[in-house]
Symmetry: C2
């Protein structure tokens, strides 16, 4: 019988990656040792190397998978015939939902990617810059047709992305905020602003 897919191997590797993501999120990549990861899986550190090659591979897998998901979504949104503002809303909703579904990995990709080593560092940075430029392009199109307020696209993209990334701090919040409240509130603030009048000056 031909060995087609090493199911067990892949699944155990994923278990290690998930454990690593939780610890990278909690302590940061440099402060997380292979011994910590091993302990959280109730094995000894050297055993991890049966499933992965190195500590940095764990970070690479997490960051690249997140980057792929964001870019895949962006491509889908770009392919629609939606208006620029509708596209921006779709992109924001996707980002928020990614945050809800897998905030550990998204946070790690956002905050720990600087610890990637070449060539992964450069690959990730290029993907990230490309994503931001393309979203900025949508903003510019919306501004050109007076659908989006006259804002600096560079500053706006930074504001939107960091506003959404930052909300994963809701985890530590005493009261549980439900997913829908979170999503509708962030969208309301970013699209309509805090001011009750909602007027432009």
């Amino acid at each position: 019988m031909a060995k087609i897919i090493p199911t067990n191997t892949r699944s155990k590797k994923d278990v290690v990656v998930v454990a690593a993501a939780a610890l990278f999120r909690e302590k940061g990549y440099p402060a997380t040792s292979m011994r910590h990861i091993a302990e959280s899986l109730s094995v000894e550190a050297p055993s991890l190397y049966n499933h992965i090659d190195s500590k940095k591979e764990l970070l690479e897998l997490i960051c690249m998978r997140v980057a792929d998901e964001f870019i895949t979504n962006l491509k889908q949104v770009e392919a629609t015939g939606l208006t620029p503002l509708e596209k921006i809303e779709r992109i924001m909703r996707f980002h928020i939902r990614m945050m809800m579904r897998d905030h550990l990995s998204v946070h790690v990709a956002e905050h720990e990617w600087r610890h990637l080593e070449e060539p992964a560092y450069d690959r990730f940075k290029t993907l990230r810059n490309s994503y931001r430029k393309r979203v900025a392009g949508i903003l510019e199109a919306g501004i050109a047709e007076n659908q989006i307020a006259k804002v600096d696209p560079q500053v706006t993209i930074l504001t939107i992305i960091s506003a959404i990334n930052g909300i994963d701090a809701w985890q530590h919040s005493a009261k549980n905020i439900d997913a829908e409240t979170l999503e509708e509130n962030i969208l309301s603030i970013l699209l309509n602003g805090l001011s009750a009048s909602g007027s432009k000056n």
Copy 2:
């Protein structure tokens, strides 16, 4: 002659703290070694201990000074007779300007404080929670008098703070964004939203 103020000692300590802030910002606290800090000052690592007691003291000094500045400003704003929305705007402008003036320390306080050890960890966390609760209180007052849109104060405070914190990424941006553009754009988005209509639904 009485030795009144050990000017040299304090000033050298500050030099070490500033160098540490730059490296904590660049590499993160755990990935920054005392040898890195020493090297950036062209001395050997053990020499640093003539001016400071430990690595963790450096982080504590940075985090506590930032916390103090934010809370001092909040107290001043609370003591005015401004409307809630005006208070929120003042708080946001102060935060943005802190970011421009000392983004290294503000970033370190925001992202590295989790590496503080007790009792500093708990002290900082308490200050941070208190700050957020008091700003949330201003938001609630503004909502109650229909000056601020009906948003969840918890989610809003998270959104505002992380939106502003995140913009220190402008440093790595190719084009230099001037301070005023940055401040007015972020305020415009958070107060009036992205939508050109600026209408509420």
